[in-house]
């Protein structure tokens, strides 16, 4: 194994101080350890953050929920407040990975998990994300699980998280700490598109740490759906997923949130499309219009063109289910 140093600080400030340029924080390790075994990640230092006081779920003054970065995915999914107010988030988390992984994986780590692109994982092949300038193997190679939106010639990888798709739809905020203090990043600005810098997944600076994810009060608990389409019934990443939340005024739409997973380098949202739904009747026709608008400009590759139509249908179904309240308790 790559030789690395290991430390386990007790405080966030300590953790920030200890982290070196070639070091990495480790929490659940469900992704980082895999990457180290595959020789994709080669940190010289692991700063184990599991002792930091970031493992609480608290109600905020604004009436939302603040989830500490170290809270396990399974703890979030089964937390009574999450189940009651943000069932969309619970459903999304439980659609991902396996029970064992969810028991280990942390909230912050989920945000920072890396793509599952075959080429990223195989050091015997080119990948601009893993090794900038080496080329993109997926562009003309195997690209079934790749992006149809927001990709670049440098990279067509997708972000694999389910949880993040729900967090995007719920307009969460990511709280981070760094050497120069604390800041908050709106969820939509947390993950990046690949552009010419596909090696950067997020806008978190290398010397910053996620401390919490905050949910605003609106949870869309009455009318929501998390729909995940994949190659088997469990333990597979999304080909396409949709997190949908609606507020209804009688038969018309009062508010809408739609985020897509499995289609881009980040959870995909179009606030304009959501705004355009307001006041529209809660009908399939409205949903189809929204789906078409969301997927405008989508471009597929040899093995994933089907995702465009699949996403269209998934959006319509998710919004229909949300409107019907089929998932509400």
């Amino acid at each position: 194994m790559n030789r690395f140093s290991y430390s386990k600080p007790q405080q966030v400030s300590e953790a920030l101080q200890q982290l070196s340029d070639t070091g990495r924080f480790i929490a659940g390790g469900t992704n980082l350890l895999d990457l180290m075994k595959e020789n994709v990640a080669r940190p010289s230092q692991l700063v184990d953050i599991n002792a930091l006081p970031l493992n609480k779920i608290e109600t905020t003054q604004a009436g939302g929920l603040r989830i500490g970065a170290l809270v396990k995915n399974s703890t979030v999914a089964y937390h009574p407040d999450v189940e009651r107010v943000y069932p969309l988030l619970a459903h999304a988390i439980l659609a991902g990975a396996s029970a064992q992984l969810r028991n280990m994986a942390s909230t912050g780590g989920n945000l920072l998990q890396r793509t599952r692109c075959y080429y990223f994982y195989d050091v015997g092949t080119p990948c601009n994300k893993r090794e900038p300038g080496s080329g993109c193997g997926a562009l003309e190679g195997q690209n079934r699980i790749h992006a149809i939106l927001g990709h670049s010639e440098q990279c067509i990888a997708v972000h694999p998280s389910d949880m993040c798709v729900a967090l995007a739809a719920l307009e969460a905020t990511v709280h981070v700490s760094g050497p120069s203090g604390n800041r908050s990043i709106p969820f939509a600005d947390f993950h990046r598109l690949p552009g010419d810098t596909p090696h950067l997944d997020t806008n978190l600076a290398p010397d910053e740490i996620i401390t919490a994810v905050e949910l605003p009060p609106r949870g869309f608990a009455e009318n929501f759906a998390y729909l995940k389409l994949r190659d088997r019934a469990s333990y597979a990443f999304a080909l396409v997923s949709v997190a949908a939340g609606l507020e209804l005024n009688g038969t018309s739409i009062g508010a809408a949130r739609i985020a897509l997973g499995g289609v881009a380098h980040k959870p995909w949202r179009c606030p304009e499309v959501e705004a355009a739904l307001i006041g529209k009747p809660a009908t399939e026709e409205s949903y189809r219009m929204a789906a078409d608008a969301l997927l405008q400009g989508a471009v597929g590759f040899e093995h994933n063109r089907f995702k465009i139509e699949l996403a269209r249908r998934a959006i319509v179904r998710a919004l229909s289910e949300a409107a019907a309240g089929v998932n509400a308790q």
Binding site: Y118, T125, E140, G141, Q142, R232, S234, E309
Partner: protein, 737 residues
């Protein structure tokens, strides 16, 4: 009446396995054990220009880096590399020279004091290549096809003409993706080096004697110097039928370093050798107005490597499964710059029968005849491919009847898209399955000791199939002993000769030898009794006596009885043993011997998304006597689950430019998880067979998977009206077509 056979007996090796006391190939060791880690090539074709091991050798704990330039001497003649399951051509030789024949070919072995050091150092080995563009596209290379080196059943009649003239006909092309074995236990070899230069090897294999012979041959070691001991195998499915490269590499390192070495492949490296070949099949079937087949044309194009011709029994079934006067078969191979394909559960049959049974389903709609009825009308009690030999037994019609009844086939509405529940389209599909019931020569030794216990042994394997259990049952049955008094030993190359554990012929071959060895031992015991002139057994033969709880009795007068221990005492030895070899009896030549199945499937399809759920499946199996019900049912269930994987999920994703399998892990190489599996039902149809072997048991390792993919594809057609002729049937193929 039996006491053990045909009963639901729990696995005799179960407690060892679930308590972790069963040791697998990569778990043996010695105090001085070192570990090898394989470096695989990043290119698929070309030459190694230079291997720089400087940095790797600097890692603390690294002992050596073996390459083609510094490995120990190995045989150069091709004959030395043959194995019991070899394909035509040149067996792959790891670290033989600078040539790269496929992507992820092993190019170096880093040996270190620890696994961690070896793996890290392996990442530091730098290899410079001269690369040539590889060819890995089956479709693009079609023109390079050549005839497969195998004998096919002769053509019958004029199939083309009959097809042209027939009133009802179909023609279709089917494609299936490459599949990987992915046994739970990765391939591993632990070579224990003893100071006298002898090797004890724990190798993940389906044939310990195959591995031992292979290593003796290529390293020029006397036969007695190599012993292979593998008591447990964590699944193999054919991947252990041929010695794999980690065995050769571990042996090289042990011989060079004169130390014990272990090499375990990573999950990724499990994709660096054999697989089920990608296959293209072209089918033409025709029948008359009554549904009687008049023409069968089956042409197959399978993938092979540049160095071997991999052949399997893929088209032969189309000549024998149904009565048809005009048949033409063709089987070609397309060499690609990939590793040679490798037998995988029901090799050939799963592919050939998938295409045949899909085409039969298409024909049923063309003829307007129920798919099950069409098969019944074309049933044949004799084997047309072998000059209409009778079958030794063939209860296929009972499989159809019992399977259909259990499944509720009569509730099927004939029209596609006619069954619905909410958003879900429901479809019923079925298919026939078939596999050969083979027997190979095998030997076994039976020993009875003064405490009344029996030990039987043979150099076979238990790859999770239940060999330990069923052989114990056979021997315990012979001696009328409780199972606890009988031990079966396997997985040691010094034990009596056994064939590879594969092809569903282990019970038939080794089981027959076990029975014969027990009977030979019983004969000796009877002979011992007869030494005494006053013995009541004096005028009796073996068929007149029974063995029961440590005694021998005369059937006609059971009060005449002698303790076995008494007989041993009389013989003056604490134990008595007998060795027997069983071979297929000549009578078999006049018959075709095969297992059959009827598979019924219910699918539920969400047409918007193309997602398919296999909500119910019934498999009715005719395989002679089922000697061990629990492992037996287990085998069939495993086959059914794998059939679901083959039909819906499994696909080696090849980057054709790189000639490299890209989804080389079990997160992205999908096979079914629990959530995919619903109601599976197995029926063992009674089948009496006195020809196939003395046990009347045919073997069931393969039959469970055959036909499943066709039944699923047929059910999807029935549900949706969409005929998808390309496996796996992923959701995109369903919702887009």
């Amino acid at each position: 009446m039996t006491i053990h056979l045909e009963k639901a007996v729990s696995r005799v090796d179960g407690p060892l396995k679930v308590t972790g006391r069963a040791l697998y190939a990569g778990e043996f060791g010695t105090a001085d054990l070192c570990t090898g880690y394989v470096v695989n090539s990043s290119i698929a074709k070309g030459r190694i220009l230079r291997i720089d091991t400087t940095e790797a050798l600097k890692v603390v704990g690294v002992l050596d880096v073996l390459t083609h330039e510094n490995r120990p001497a190995v045989a150069s003649y091709n004959e030395s590399y043959t194995d019991m399951d070899a394909a035509d051509g040149k067996h792959f030789r790891p670290l033989y020279n600078d040539r790269i024949l496929y992507s992820m070919q092993p190019v170096a072995l880093v040996v270190a004091e620890s696994f961690e050091a070896a793996r890290y150092a392996a990442s530091l080995v730098r290899v410079d290549y001269e690369s040539e563009p590889p060819q890995a596209d089956l479709y693009a290379q079609r023109s390079e096809a050549h005839k497969a080196p195998t004998e096919l059943p002769p053509d019958r009649g004029d199939a083309e003409e009959a097809w042209t003239q027939a009133p009802v006909k179909v023609e279709a092309e089917y494609h299936s993706a490459a599949e990987f074995h992915n046994p739970m236990e990765m391939h591993a070899s632990t070579v224990i080096y003893s100071t006298d230069g002898k090797l004890t090897i724990h190798d993940k294999t389906q044939g310990v004697q195959n591995s031992a012979q292979f290593i003796s041959n290529i390293f020029g070691l006397p036969d007695g110097d190599v012993r292979v001991v593998t008591p447990f195998v964590g699944g193999a499915f054919g991947s252990g039928l041929r010695p794999q490269y980690q065995l050769v590499l571990a042996t090289m390192a042990a011989l060079k370093l004169k130390r014990s070495v272990r090499v375990v492949l990573s999950r990724e490296q499990m994709f660096s050798f054999g697989h089920r070949p990608e296959t293209l099949q072209h089918l033409k079937l025709a029948c008359d107005q009554d549904g009687k087949l008049v023409s069968t044309i089956h042409e197959v194009m399978g993938e092979t490597s540049s160095f071997e011709d991999f052949t399997e029994m893929v088209v032969v079934w189309s000549a024998s499964l149904y009565q048809c006067p005009n048949v033409r078969l063709k089987y070609d191979l397309v060499p690609l710059d990939l590793y040679t394909p490798l037998d995988m559960r029901a090799p050939g049959a799963v592919l050939g029968v998938y295409a045949l049974e899909s085409a039969m389903d298409e024909l049923s709609y063309a003829a307007g005849i129920d798919p099950l009825e069409l098969r019944i009308r074309n049933f044949t009690a004799t084997d047309p491919a072998s000059g209409n030999n009778p079958y030794s037994s063939k209860e296929l019609l009972e499989c159809y009847r019992q399977g259909a009844e259990r499944f509720g086939w009569n509730k099927r509405s004939p029209q596609p898209r006619s069954m619905k529940e909410g958003r879900q389209l429901i479809g019923y599909g079925m298919a026939t399955g078939v596999w050969e019931a083979m027997q190979n020569p095998a030997s076994a030794k039976a020993v009875i000791t003064i405490d009344g216990s029996v030990v039987v042994s043979s150099a076979t394997a238990d790859i999770g199939t239940g060999t330990y259990t069923v052989m114990t049952q056979i021997a315990a049955e012979c001696f009328g002993l409780p199972l606890e008094k009988v031990t079966f030993k396997l997985g040691d190359s010094t034990l009596p000769k056994a064939p590879l554990e594969g092809g569903s012929f282990t019970v038939s071959s080794v089981g027959s030898a076990v029975k014969q060895a027990c009977e030979a031992l019983q004969q000796q015991l009877l002979d011992q009794a007869k030494q005494d002139d006053q013995s009541p057994f004096k005028n009796f033969e073996l068929t007149d006596v029974i063995f029961e709880n440590g005694t021998m009795r005369i059937k006609a007068s059971p009060q005449e009885c002698i303790e076995i221990t008494e007989l041993l005492k009389q013989g003056g030895s604490p134990s008595m043993e007998a060795l027997a070899s069983a071979s297929p009896k000549e009578e078999r030549d006049n018959y075709t011997t095969a297992t059959h199945s009827a598979v019924f499937v219910e699918v539920r399809v969400d047409e918007d998304f193309g997602t398919v759920q296999i909500s119910r499946m019934v498999s009715a199996i005719a395989a002679g006597r089922i000697l061990s019900l629990k492992p037996g049912r287990n085998q069939i269930l495993g086959g059914m689950v794998w059939g679901i994987g083959m039909a819906l999920q499994e696909e080696g994703m090849l980057d054709k430019k790189l000639a490299r399998w890209m989804n080389h892990n079990i997160a992205e190489y999908h096979y079914p998880v629990n959530a995919d599996i619903h109601d599976l039902d197995v029926i063992f149809v009674k089948e009496h067979d006195e020809i196939v072997n003395p046990l009347g048991a045919k073997g069931i390792g393969e039959i469970g998977i055959v036909g499943v993919a066709a039944a699923i594809a047929n059910a999807i057609y029935h549900a949706t009206g969409k005929r998808i002729r390309d496996l796996p049937i992923t959701l995109d193929k369903v919702f887009q077509s």
